[in-house]
């Protein structure tokens, strides 16, 4: 079903990762992505993989949640793996017939890439599983607040993101409702050629847009009625404060970064 989409799905808990400052988590996620692209050999990758695994264990989020977030990416992972296997010709030849040659280098690269993508997905899922969407946008707003100097309306952007996230489940529900209503009138979404199927979506899309606009108007009226006037002079209900654990996790990441650089330097590329 459509409602399986995991965007902004928060898995409530009280683990160390849940309690980390959202800003720190975002920065660390970005740092993680940078570091994992710095990895040049299996040892440094293994270090990153270990870091991912430990974080997952610490988060207390069940494994199946991560499998669920991996599922949609699986075809991409397989596709890149297959491409790597067939196109990279390095190391010793393992198999060769017709135009296909498989080398150890190809296999190693394919595996390397697959692990890298999996780590990336896990790590970003970890961020959304352990941080509520509101905390997330709140943190983004603060991280971007230096941009105010450039007259970019950071608060407005953050508010838009919060609202968009908030309304995803609502809209999904709405789609299901409208789809059912049109099915009850005999609309057929399952058969026909591509163009027919696209056309069959019109009875769902029109009411969906109409109601989305209606909601937007109602919401903006409701917000003005409560004297919402943008970010100027607004104080915050939730203050974000850095704790010791935030510092420790930064330190940990710095160590991992150092580790990756050292491993890269002393053990060369790939195998």
């Amino acid at each position: 079903m459509i409602s399986d989409i995991t965007i902004g799905q928060y898995y409530s808990g009280t683990s160390v990762l849940h309690r980390l400052d959202a800003r720190v988590k975002i920065l660390l996620t970005v740092l993680f992505i940078v570091i994992i692209f710095l990895c040049k050999n299996f040892l440094s990758l293994a270090l990153m993989f270990a870091l991912t695994a430990v974080s997952i264990l610490l988060s207390g989020v069940p494994f199946r949640m991560f499998f669920k977030s991996l599922k949609p990416i699986l075809p991409i992972i397989l596709f890149t793996a297959v491409l790597n296997i067939f196109y990279i010709k390095k190391g010793t030849e393992l198999l060769s017939f017709w135009v296909i040659t498989i080398t150890t280098g190809g296999l190693a690269t394919a595996f390397f890439m697959a692990v890298r993508i999996i780590c990336l997905i896990m790590c970003s899922s970890l961020l959304t599983y352990t941080t509520t969407p509101t905390d997330l946008t709140d943190a983004i707003e603060r991280l971007l607040s230096p941009l105010k100097v450039l007259h970019i309306q950071v608060h407005t952007l953050a508010m838009m993101m919060t609202l968009a996230l908030r309304f995803i489940p609502t809209l999904i529900e709405e789609i299901e409702r409208i789809t059912n209503a049109q099915k009850a009138r005999g609309a057929d979404f399952e058969s026909g050629r591509f163009m027919q199927r696209v056309k069959a979506m019109i009875p769902v899309l029109v009411p969906l847009f109409v109601s989305a606009f209606r909601r937007a108007y109602e919401l903006s009226f409701a917000m003005s009625c409560r004297c919402y006037h943008g970010g100027e002079g607004r104080t915050r209900m939730k203050q974000m404060k850095l704790h010791l654990s935030d510092g420790v996790s930064f330190l940990l990441f710095a160590l991992v970064l150092a580790g990756v650089i050292v491993l890269n330097h002393f053990f060369g590329k790939l195998i």
């Binding site: 409702r177 409208i178 059912n180 209503a181 049109q182 099915k183 009850a184 009138r185 005999g186 609309a187 057929d188 019109i202 009875p203 029109v206 009411p207 109409v210 109601s211």
Partner: protein
């Protein structure tokens, strides 16, 4: 044997099975609805009314149990499920949000068109059905988005009626309408049922409405079927209904009270007018005796 059109046997449905959010919305519901009756479904909010009616036209498939239409399992042939939807027309809560066409005409014609009817037949149905819901010809070319809430509602209901279903199911057709709007919608449904002789099932929160227009009342309570029977039968369980968080209509309560006190009130009454007549008749009888 009564002539049964729609029947459920041990119908059970569970949302999100095997997860933390598991909810059994209907449990072991067996009910047989006679052809040509007007059934009112009542029940506390969350008792499973909407879930139940979504099974009637195969939008949902029971976790267990069957739905029989004219004695045949609607899921017997999966490919035929669309034709079941033409025979059992379901109009959801706030149906006006499903309008999408440029004109009222086209929107009402959407269902019949999906049935693959001829242009003439569609034209006949659209015009007929629009007069059923009390909208004049001039509405045909208007945009459904320019209508008032009540008019939109009526256009949406017309869109289902235009499929000429054997069973018309309406989920809270009066929700969010003013008293006049409610009365209009109720009377047009009643009128439709009388004229076409089809079976009509309506979900409502108003006991007054149910008592007023229904032949039979179906009561849902905490996912189970609590009662199914004539208005009088069902409302005679006043105490049980109250424990389900339902109220019986005021006039019904008066009637029961009078009966309890031993007054020979002859017929049940649901409106103030009927009550007045019945009570006066009662007094006359007393004088004569």
């Amino acid at each position: 044997m009564a002539d049964i059109i729609l029947e459920t046997k041990n119908l059970t449905y569970t949302y999100a099975p095997k997860t933390a959010g598991e909810v059994t919305a209907i449990r072991d519901v067996s009910v047989a609805i006679e052809r040509g009756t007007l059934v009112g479904i009542i029940g506390h909010t969350g008792s499973g009314k909407s879930t139940l009616i979504e099974h009637f036209n195969g939008l949902m498939r029971g976790t267990s149990g069957v739905v029989l239409l004219d004695g045949k399992d609607i899921w017997e042939n999966k490919k035929e499920i669309r034709s079941v939807r033409f025979r059992v027309g379901v109009c959801f809560q706030y149906p006006e949000y499903q309008l999408f066409e440029e004109t009222v005409y086209k929107d009402v014609a959407f269902g019949p068109k999906n049935m693959g009817l001829s242009e003439e037949e569609i034209d006949r149905r659209v015009r007929e059905v629009l007069s059923f819901v009390g909208l004049e010809e001039r509405y045909l070319e208007l945009s459904p988005f320019d209508l008032s809430g009540g008019e939109k509602r009526r256009v949406a209901i017309a869109g289902i009626m235009a499929m000429e279903p054997q069973v018309l199911v309406l989920d809270e057709p009066c929700a969010g309408l003013d008293p006049i709007g409610r009365a209009t919608v109720l009377s047009l449904i009643q009128n439709y049922q009388k004229t076409t002789g089809s079976t009509v099932i309506i979900v409502t929160h108003s006991m007054e409405d149910a008592a007023l227009i229904a032949d039979r009342i179906l009561v849902m309570n905490q996912a189970r079927l609590a009662f199914y029977g004539t208005v009088e039968e069902v409302f005679s369980h006043a105490g049980e209904l109250q424990s389900m968080g339902l109220d019986i209509p005021q006039m019904m309560r008066l009637y029961l009270l009078l009966r309890e006190k031993g007054l020979p009130v002859s017929k049940t009454f649901y409106t103030l007018e009927q009550a007045k007549k019945a009570i006066l008749a009662c007094f006359k009888k007393g004088e004569n005796a």
